[in-house]
Symmetry: C2
Subunit: 164 residues, 2 copies
């Protein structure tokens, strides 16, 4: 069986952990082809959406809201492309998939965050899966630190809304 890369996340990727709750971990994607792209990884090894528990599924709803709000407010994202594909796991002879989602923020206008500037040339079209990384290491780390500092607000806000 193929080794599960998501149960054994590399140190380089683990450094990009933005937030975690009981069920999910949110990482800034190593490849920033769309600036602010995140990967949301189930903490438990589970191979398909069908097998998610109700608690995992409900928790993911909170994550979609909080992550969309954060990327909208902090990066001026216009809308979002969500996907759960898991194709790579099937490159192994004995596949060993692990549920995770990609969220690509999409931008109608050019976006500037510090010295980072990004134009979403494919906006309103399918994301370009072969699009290259747009941020160097320093820019990616700056973006990570910026979002890491902000993300709790969006989860606490969600919590406050539930309690209201």
């Amino acid at each position: 069986m193929g080794v599960c890369e998501l149960c054994n996340i590399s140190d380089a990727d683990r450094k990009l952990l933005l937030y975690e709750n009981a069920y999910w971990s949110i990482y800034l994607a190593n490849k920033q082809d769309y600036v602010g792209r995140c990967i949301i990884v189930l903490k438990r090894h589970c191979g398909s959406l069908s097998e998610l528990t109700v608690n995992e599924w409900c928790s993911f709803k909170d994550i979609t809201s909080s992550v969309e709000n954060m990327l909208k407010n902090e990066l001026s994202a216009t809308m979002f492309n969500w996907s759960c594909l898991m194709n790579d796991a099937y490159k192994s002879i004995i596949p060993n998939p692990h549920v995770h989602f990609h969220v690509r923020p999409r931008y109608a206008a050019s976006v500037s965050i510090g010295d980072i500037s990004f134009i979403d040339t494919d906006f309103a079209h399918h994301y370009n899966n072969k699009s290259e990384n747009k941020l160097n290491e320093e820019q990616k780390n700056k973006l990570f630190c910026y979002l890491k500092q902000k993300i709790d607000i969006y989860f606490n806000e969600k919590q406050a809304n539930i309690l209201r």
Copy 2:
């Protein structure tokens, strides 16, 4: 504001309605670039995942399980690519998006259903968004009738499991 095509589904697409519950409608996609591809459309006009209600979200969980089980058992799908993109709505000057998901069944082996045969040449890779329709009208209608006849089983089974 752009007219919402999903609140005003064309007669050609409406004929491909496989199943509906209180919140969602499941259509066989008109373009069968991946055989068995379905589109799951929220019945209410709503522009983002963030704005889905808890009931809509929980209902969608049942749909992912039932649709995956159906496509696995009836078409021998190996795994599934799920996406919620909504890019087309942003081609309008005043976008008017409506939440919907695409599910593309993916096949490790060639699939045959009656006279339909399909090889997923990109298996274990990102789906090809420019892939052409693989079924003619007659084949698509046969596939629709076949799945339409079967789909209730998968939702009733789900219900039976809940009641057990």
